[in-house]
């Protein structure tokens, strides 16, 4: 009984959520009283005496914090028959400046009534200085490969995330500075490492950093946001997965860095310098080096190296006497590498000599600034000898390069160049000379061609319909002609009693659409009566037919002559009656 009452009470409590609003209270609690700038503090607001609030709690004193929601939960408890319900809101706050802050009171509205919480104090200390051994379970560190660089010299910006706890949903915000460009050089690399005696899981991401203008750059901290999960050694196993744990949002920043960028020296700057900074090499091949007149050879020049590879210029082939040169589209590819940005450019020319003889393809040069030697370098291809033997003057097959796609060593086709414009010649065939074809010669022909199949179809269709109709009309026609036929046959079968009997049967068959093989006198009388003839007339025919039968079976054929006259008369009477 008591259990039933308790159960009833429980359901009532569920169905009446604000039944205990008289005892509503709000409590604000922090998971710590002291924190650093990089810490994320858990703020819990417990509203007791209700299971729902009119709106979200309003927390005062959060002006200097970044706030993110951690969810809410409601609870109903029955302890020794006493009901209690509460709802708890969780927030995570991260201070944006140091100092001592008063958090609260929290204002909660329940059934239109405002309830206030207590006030908590939080002291925020400055973050530990870089290099200090006192680092938290999560921190971010950035390094530059050099603090001083030339304009467009590639500097490595290494970003390392140190972790002692599980994290997810990592997002990165790189510094945004004018004239500074970041390029990720490789995918993030994860490994174990020791930092000041502690083992960390380290995630490393290399970036190439290029300064486009000279000056002193203060590189602002990079920021990483993520969800961190508390690491408790006691809770191992299946439920240790982040999916089953509640995480807290964390935002961490790296330390600021400084980079001094100096301009490239003007001294020794080669003419037409493209701004290429790094370390490069150049190679050239001429294939084949011996050709016949009318053939072509391919000169391939490849430049590869590390640095600002997008500045590799398109080399120009100088004008050569008695040689036609067709340049192919250069192929360029940049390959990010953990040690810096690298790449190559391949240029190809089809060399087509116009005369036989020995030629020399002049060297092609490339200038760049080498930051390691702090000087400009000029590299060039060797001279390429080309021997042209006499040969037939034939269509030049340009083998040049192609590298438009994958192309080292692949031959390509060259677009056909239009040299002249003119119309094409006359048509001299006398075929189709006459414009007036069968169609054009007359409208009648056209209509006949189109209508003839239709007319044919209609004719056949109508023919079939007519035929069907005539088959259907045959019995009526027979019925119409039946009396005449009978009279005619009676005249012909003057002395034949058998013939007269058959005449009467055929009359009945034709007149009434029957298919009788034999007709008895009684049947004949019945048929006549059913068709509307008078009983007297039917009886007369019956008598005549009995007489005919008697004549047949007795062999008295003399009566036939008399019946010849009687039967037609009687039939006329029948016709009158049944019409």
């Amino acid at each position: 009984m008591k259990k039933s009452i308790l159960l009833l009470g429980f359901f009532i409590s569920i169905l009446t959520p604000c039944q205990a609003r008289a005892g509503v209270s709000v409590a604000l609690s922090l998971d710590r009283q002291e924190a650093t700038l990089s810490d994320s503090i858990r703020v819990a607001i417990k509203v007791s005496g209700t299971r729902s609030c009119d709106s979200s709690p309003v927390i005062k004193g959060l002006d200097s914090f970044q706030v993110s929601q951690g969810g809410s939960s409601s609870r109903v408890e029955i302890i020794n028959g006493n009901f209690s319900s509460s709802v708890e809101y969780t927030y995570y706050i991260q201070p944006s400046k140091s100092g001592t802050f008063q958090l609260g009171p929290v204002e909660v509205k329940v059934d239109g009534k405002v309830f206030k919480s207590n006030i908590s104090t939080l002291s925020v200390l400055k973050a530990a200085s870089p290099g200090s051994p006192a680092k938290g379970p999560i921190f971010l560190e950035t390094t530059l490969s050099s603090k001083k660089a030339y304009v467009e010299e590639q500097v490595l910006y290494i970003l390392k995330l140190y972790l002692k706890t599980s994290v997810s949903d990592i997002s990165l915000q790189l510094p945004e500075l004018d004239h500074l460009a970041f390029k990720q050089l490789a995918k993030p690399r994860e490994y174990q490492g020791v930092y000041h005696g502690s083992t960390y899981r380290i995630i490393e991401v290399p970036y190439g950093l290029l300064a486009l203008k000279a000056g002193n750059y203060g590189i602002t901290p990079s920021q990483m946001s993520m969800t961190a999960y508390d690491h408790r050694k006691s809770r191992r196993g299946f439920f240790d997965d982040p999916f089953f744990r509640s995480g807290r949002p964390v935002t961490i920043s790296s330390q600021p860095l400084e980079l001094k960028v100096i301009p490239l020296p003007e001294e020794g700057k080669p003419e037409g310098f493209s701004g290429l900074v790094g370390n490069f090499e150049i190679k050239a091949t001429l294939v084949p080096s011996k050709i016949n007149m009318g053939e072509s050879a391919t000169l391939t020049v490849s430049i590869n190296g590390k640095g600002n590879v997008n500045r590799i210029p398109d080399l120009k082939m100088p004008g050569l006497e008695h040689i036609k040169v067709y340049a192919d589209e250069p192929v360029f590819e940049a390959r990010p590498d953990p040690k810096g940005l690298a790449g190559f450019k391949i240029m190809k020319w089809a060399i087509v000599p116009e005369q036989q003889g020995d030629y020399e393809i002049p060297p092609l040069s490339l200038s760049f600034f080498d930051p390691e030697t702090h000087s400009y370098s000029i590299i060039q291809t060797p001279k390429q000898p080309l021997i042209v033997l006499p040969g037939k003057e034939k269509m030049i097959m340009v083998e040049a390069g192609p590298g438009r796609q994958n192309g080292v060593g692949r031959s390509s086709k060259q677009g056909v160049e239009e040299i002249g414009h003119d119309i094409l010649p006359l048509h001299t065939s006398v075929r189709n000379l006459q414009a007036r074809s069968a169609i054009m010669s007359g409208g009648l022909f056209v209509w006949l061609t189109l209508l003839l199949p239709f007319v044919l179809y209609v004719s056949i269709f109508l023919g079939l319909r007519l035929k069907k109709r005539s088959v259907r009309a045959l019995p009526a026609q027979k019925a119409r002609k039946a009396p005449k036929n009978l009279m005619r046959r009676c005249r012909q079968e003057r002395d034949d009693v058998n013939g007269l009997t058959l005449c009467v049967r055929d009359y009945f068959n034709d007149r009434f659409g029957l298919a009788l093989a034999s007709l008895t006198p009684d049947d004949a009388a019945d048929i006549l009566i059913s068709k509307g003839a008078g009983p007297g007339t039917a009886q007369k025919l019956r008598v005549i037919m009995i007489e005919l039968e008697n004549s047949i079976y007795t062999g008295q054929s003399r009566k036939a002559g008399r019946m010849n006259n009687e039967i037609p008369r009687l039939i006329k009477e029948i016709e009158r009656e049944i019409r």
Partner: protein, 274 residues
């Protein structure tokens, strides 16, 4: 001679006469064609033009002749007339690659940059331009014959495959018929004309002293709306309109046999080619 033999012999003689007369005329036309071609080859383009025109006037308006005439005009430096004849040839031999190349080449010589207008019918029935009226007619006639043949067969024998065949042919018949009808309509209502003079003034009205609205140059294709007293109201694809002397333009379907046989109900004036 017996009466029974006389009639067949007479018919035979008449037929022989007609055949020989036709052959003689064919020889004459071919001779004219060769003569025109020869004149073209030796560079006497005016003579070639006259010969081709003579052939056309005698009823030989085949696409080849219009094409050759266009070539002759082009060589004679009359790009406008060349385009006119090429356009006429295109109505008869629309897929001829030489013709399309030459027409494109001639169009390149035009001074006026006017966008070609494509209406809904031209876009939806894009294949119409690739077939001449003859081809579309015979396609339709063949499908028409097939359709009625199947319908006749179905009067005697009905089967499932015949039903599906009928549906297929009926659809094709409809498309072919519609194409033929549209082509016929398109040709009979073709108001395109080509400017034949080096430069013509397009006026606000059909009077010499009317305001000059704009100028057009040889070879430009315009649409003729109507003609009055030796003047034609022309329209450009961008809706500019104005009057021009009728002798300064040539109607593309002006002298084509197709329009004379498939007679258009409209009583439009036809501008002579020359």
């Amino acid at each position: 001679m017996r009466k029974g033999i006389r009639l067949p012999i007479t018919i035979l003689l008449v037929l022989l006469y007609l055949t020989s007369n036709h052959a003689a005329r064919a020889d004459e036309w071919e001779e004219g064609f060769f003569k025109a071609n020869q004149a073209y080859k030796v560079g006497d383009f005016q003579e070639a033009i006259e010969e081709y025109l003579r052939l056309i006037r005698s009823g030989h308006g085949g696409g080849q002749i219009y094409y050759n005439l266009g070539n002759a005009y082009f060589r004679a430096g009359q790009v406008g007339r060349a385009i006119l004849e090429y356009e006429r040839a295109q109505l008869l031999i629309p897929r001829d690659p030489d013709l399309n190349f030459n027409l494109s080449h001639a169009r390149d010589q035009i001074r006026d940059a006017i966008e070609e207008f494509h209406g809904f019918i031209e876009t939806a029935f894009f294949w119409l331009k690739s077939f001449n009226l003859n081809e579309l007619f015979w396609s339709f006639a063949l499908l028409n014959l097939l359709l009625w043949t199947i319908l006749i067969i179905r009067l005697f024998h009905k089967s499932e495959w015949l039903y599906y065949m009928l549906l297929l042919i009926l659809t094709s018949w409809f498309v072919a018929g519609l194409s033929f009808g549209l082509k016929y309509y398109w040709i009979s209502s073709d108001d395109r004309a080509v400017i034949l003079q080096k430069e013509v003034d397009i006026l606000a009205g059909p009077e010499e002293d009317d305001t000059v609205l704009f100028k057009l140059h040889e070879g430009t294709v315009v649409y003729r709306e109507r003609s009055e007293d030796g003047w034609s109201l022309v329209r450009l694809p961008d809706k500019k309109r104005g009057w021009v002397k009728s002798r300064a333009i040539g109607l593309i379907s002006g002298v084509l046999p197709v329009t004379s046989n498939f007679h258009s109900p409209s009583s439009r004036q036809r501008v002579p080619v020359k």
